[in-house]
C-alpha cells in the first residue's frame, strides 16, 4: 500500500510541476509538426535538364525512350548554357547533355556539386539504363531482383513515429526522473521519508510510476492522432510500458552516481545523444554498424516500427519487451542498492 501512497503523492506533486507536462508538451508539439509541417511522403522528384545536340534520328530515338516517364521531370533545353543556367536556378536538378563526337554518342552529366559518389553512380547507371541500353537494344540483359519481397513500407510521416516514441517517450524519463529525485534531495523531503518505514524501492517505484503515466499519455496521444486504429495497441502497450520503465530505471541508475542534478546532467545528456545515433541506422538500414545495434534505442525503434505494420513481427516485439523488462529489473535493483547508501547523505 505504501507504494500506492508514494505513487499518488508523486502524481499529485508532479501534476503541479513543469516536468510532468514537459514530455506531454513535447508530444503535442511533435504531433502538430507532423500534421502541419511534415508531408505524408517526402517528395524526391529530381528535375532533369536535357540538352540534345544530335541528329534527328537519335533525337527521335531518345525522345521515344523518354516516353511517358512520369517520375522525373525532364526539361529539354536549347543549349549547354541554358542547361547550366536552369540548373543554377533549380538546385534540385541534374543535367544531361547528349551530343555526337567522333561518330560516338557522348553522355555528359552535369551535377550541382553537392552530390555524393553513391548518388552519382546511381544517376549514371539510371541514365545508362534508360538511354544507352534501350537504344542499343540491351534491355534483355538487365534484371532487377528484390530480396525481401514482403517488406511493408510506412509513409515517411508514420515512419518517424518510432523515433519519437523512443526518444520522447521511452528515454525522456531519463532526465525527468533524475530531476524528481534531485528536487526531493534538495528540498530535504527524501530525508524525511528515510526516517519512516517507507522503503527506498517504494519511493523509487512511485517515481517510475509517474513517468510511466506521462509516457502512456504521450504515447497514446501520439498513436491515436497519427496512426488511429491501424496499430495493434496491445503490442504497443507492452512495448511502451517496458521501454518507458527501462528509461526511468536507467535514469535512476545513472543518477545514483551523482549528488546533484548539475553533475548528472552532462552524463544524462551524453547518453541521450548516443542513443539518438540509432536513428541514423533506422533511416538508413544499410548503415548498421555493430556498435549502433548495441544501443538500447536501436531495437526499441525497430520494435515500435513493427507495431505500426499490418503484419508485425510479434516475436521481435515481445522479445524486445522481455529483454527491456529484464534490463529494467536489473537496473532498478542496482539503483535501489546504490540509493539506499547514498541518497540521504
Amino acid at each position: 500500500m505504501r507504494l500506492l501512497y508514494n505513487f499518488l503523492k508523486d502524481m499529485r506533486l508532479s501534476s503541479k510541476s513543469f516536468y510532468f507536462y514537459l514530455e506531454i508538451g513535447f508530444t503535442v508539439i511533435i504531433i502538430a509538426v507532423l500534421l502541419f509541417v511534415v508531408p505524408e511522403n517526402f517528395e524526391n522528384n529530381l528535375s532533369i535538364y536535357l540538352h540534345l545536340d544530335v541528329d534527328d534520328a537519335l533525337y527521335g530515338e531518345i525522345m521515344g525512350t523518354l516516353g511517358d516517364n512520369s517520375t522525373d521531370e525532364i526539361t529539354i533545353v536549347d543549349s549547354r548554357e541554358a542547361l547550366e543556367e536552369a540548373m543554377s536556378e533549380n538546385r534540385s536538378s541534374v543535367g544531361l547533355s547528349i551530343y555526337r563526337e567522333n561518330n560516338q554518342t557522348v553522355y555528359n552529366f552535369v551535377l550541382q556539386g553537392y552530390e555524393e559518389e553513391k548518388f552519382k553512380n546511381i544517376i549514371k547507371t539510371t541514365v545508362e539504363t534508360a538511354f544507352a541500353n534501350e537504344m542499343f537494344g540491351d534491355t534483355d540483359n538487365i534484371t532487377v531482383i528484390t530480396l525481401n519481397q514482403g517488406v511493408e513500407k510506412l509513409s515517411d510521416r508514420i515512419n518517424m513515429i518510432p523515433i519519437i516514441l523512443t526518444m520522447n517517450v521511452s528515454f525522456m524519463g531519463l532526465f525527468i526522473i533524475a530531476s524528481y529525485i534531485f528536487l526531493d534531495k534538495e528540498e530535504g523531503t527524501i530525508r524525511a521519508l528515510a526516517v519512516t518505514p517507507n522503503r527506498m524501492w517504494e519511493y523509487l517505484l512511485g517515481k517510475m510510476g509517474v513517468l510511466l503515466v506521462s509516457g502512456i499519455i504521450s504515447g497514446f496521444l501520439l498513436m491515436a492522432i497519427m496512426v488511429g486504429s491501424k496499430a495493434n495497441y496491445l503490442h504497443f502497450s507492452v512495448l511502451l510500458i517496458t521501454t518507458s520503465l527501462f528509461g526511468s530505471a536507467l535514469g535512476l541508475f545513472v543518477s545514483s552516481f551523482f549528488d546533484t542534478m548539475t553533475k548528472a546532467m552532462g552524463w544524462l545528456f551524453m547518453i541521450i545523444i548516443i542513443f539518438a545515433l540509432a536513428a541514423t541506422s533506422y533511416f538508413s538500414p544499410s548503415f548498421s554498424p555493430m556498435i549502433i545495434k548495441f544501443l538500447p534505442s536501436y531495437p526499441i525503434m525497430f520494435a515500435f516500427r513493427e507495431v505500426l505494420l499490418n503484419n508485425p513481427d510479434i516475436n521481435y516485439i515481445y522479445m524486445t519487451a522481455l529483454g527491456f523488462g529484464v534490463a529494467t529489473i536489473v537496473l532498478f535493483i542496482a539503483a535501489n542498492y546504490r540509493f539506499r547508501k547514498t541518497l540521504t547523505i
Binding site: 500500500m1 505504501r2 501512497y5 503523492k9 499529485r12 506533486l13 503541479k16 510541476s17 528540498e187 530535504g188 523531503t189 530525508r191 524525511a192 521519508l193 528515510a194 526516517v195 519512516t196 518505514p197 517507507n198 522503503r199 547508501k341 540521504t344 547523505i345
Partner: protein
C-alpha cells in the same frame, strides 16, 4: 533505549573522523541533550542513530534495533525532527501529514490534532509554500510526532523561532517526555538544553568531553554565589557573596537581617560557561565550520 559504544564515522572513509569514540547510553523516559557548536558532530551522531548515515564503526542500538542492519520496522518507533524544514511545498499542511501518516504500520495521531497543537489548524489546507519559516518548522516538528514515537530525535527544535513559538515547542517536548517519550535533543542552545534535559553530553571536534546532568555540572563547575541588591541609606548597592567563604556568609546574613534587600538571586554558572570551561570553546554557531 539508546546505546552507543565506541562510535566512529568518517565521511571521507579515512582517519579524518567527524565522530570518534563516542559512547553514551540513554535511559527510557530521559531527555538527553547533545550540546556542541556547529560542526562538532551532533548531526553526524543523530544521522547514524536515525539510520540516515550508515554505521561504519562501533555499536549502536536504538529502541532495540542494531543500527548495523536497521530494520524499517524500527521507524515505527522513532520520530525525527530536522533543523531544516523539509515539507512538500506543493502540498497543504494537512496533505503533508496525511501522506506521512499512511507510511506507518502503527496507530498514528490525528493530523488535525497535531496541526492544532502546532497552531497551524487555521492554515491546514494552505499550501506550505505560502508558510513562513516558523510555520514550516512547526509542521516539520509535529510531523515527527505522528507515530507517537518511543524515541524522539530533535535537531535544533527551537532554532530560528521567535520566543513565543520556541516556548510552545518546549512545552510540547516536556509533555511528551512526561508521557514517557525518550528524547534525544541536539542543540547548541544551552538554555533549551538546561530547561529540558535530564542529562547533557558536551561534544566538540567529534568527541564527547563529558556527560552529566545540568544540575551536577552547575554544582561541580559553578561558583555558588548569591547576588544581592540592597539599599544602604539612599545608596543602592550590588554585591556578590560566596556561599562557601565564612566571611561572605556572615556578611550576607547581616544584610538579610538588617538591610533593605531589593533583589537577591543565586548566581550559578550557565551551561555555556561550563561548556567553555570544559572544552575551551564556545557554543555559538561557527559560520566557517562545515
Amino acid at each position: 533505549m539508546i546505546t552507543v559504544k565506541n562510535l566512529y564515522h568518517s565521511y571521507t572513509k579515512d582517519d579524518r573522523y567527524a565522530v570518534k569514540n563516542v559512547t553514551f547510553e540513554i535511559e527510557k523516559g530521559e531527555v538527553f541533550g547533545f550540546l556542541g557548536p556547529s560542526g562538532a558532530g551532533k548531526s553526524t551522531t543523530q544521522g547514524i542513530l536515525t539510520g540516515l548515515l550508515q554505521l561504519q564503526q562501533g555499536e549502536v542500538n536504538v529502541v532495540g534495533y542494531d543500527m548495523r542492519k536497521p530494520s524499517r520496522e524500527m521507524f515505527n518507533k522513532i520520530g525525527v525532527s530536522f533543523e531544516q524544514s523539509n515539507v512538500y511545498n506543493k502540498l497543504s499542511a494537512l496533505e503533508n501529514l496525511e501522506f506521512y501518516k499512511k507510511l506507518f504500520d502503527v496507530p498514528t495521531l490525528d493530523p488535525m490534532f497535531l496541526l492544532k497543537i502546532a497552531g497551524l489548524d487555521h492554515v491546514a489546507n494552505k499550501k506550505t509554500s505560502e508558510f513562513s519559516k516558523g510555520m514550516k518548522h512547526r509542521l516539520t516538528f509535529v510531523r515527527s510526532m505522528l507515530n507517537n514515537p518511543e524515541a524522539w530525535f530533535l535537531d535544533e527544535p527551537t532554532t530560528g523561532l521567535d520566543p513565543a513559538i520556541a516556548s510552545q515547542i518546549k512545552d510540547i517536548i516536556k509533555e511528551k517526555n512526561q508521557a514517557g517519550t525518550t528524547v534525544f535533543l541536539s542543540t547548541h542552545n544551552m538554555y533549551v538544553a538546561d530547561e529540558l534535559c535530564h542529562r547533557v553530553a558536551f561534544i566538540i571536534d567529534g568527541e564527547i568531553k563529558l556527560v552529566d546532568s545540568p544540575r551536577n555540572l552547575k554544582l561541580q563547575y559553578g561558583e555558588k554565589l548569591v547576588g544581592v541588591e540592597y539599599k544602604l541609606g539612599d545608596e543602592l548597592k550590588k554585591e556578590s557573596f560566596s556561599l562557601i567563604d565564612e566571611m561572605d556568609r556572615l556578611k550576607l546574613n547581616d544584610i538579610i537581617n538588617n538591610g533593605n534587600i531589593e533583589l537577591m538571586h543565586t548566581k550559578e554558572a550557565t551551561l555555556e560557561e561550563i561548556f567553555i570551561k570544559v572544552t575551551g570553546r564556545g557554543l555559538q554557531y561557527n559560520e566557517t565550520s562545515i
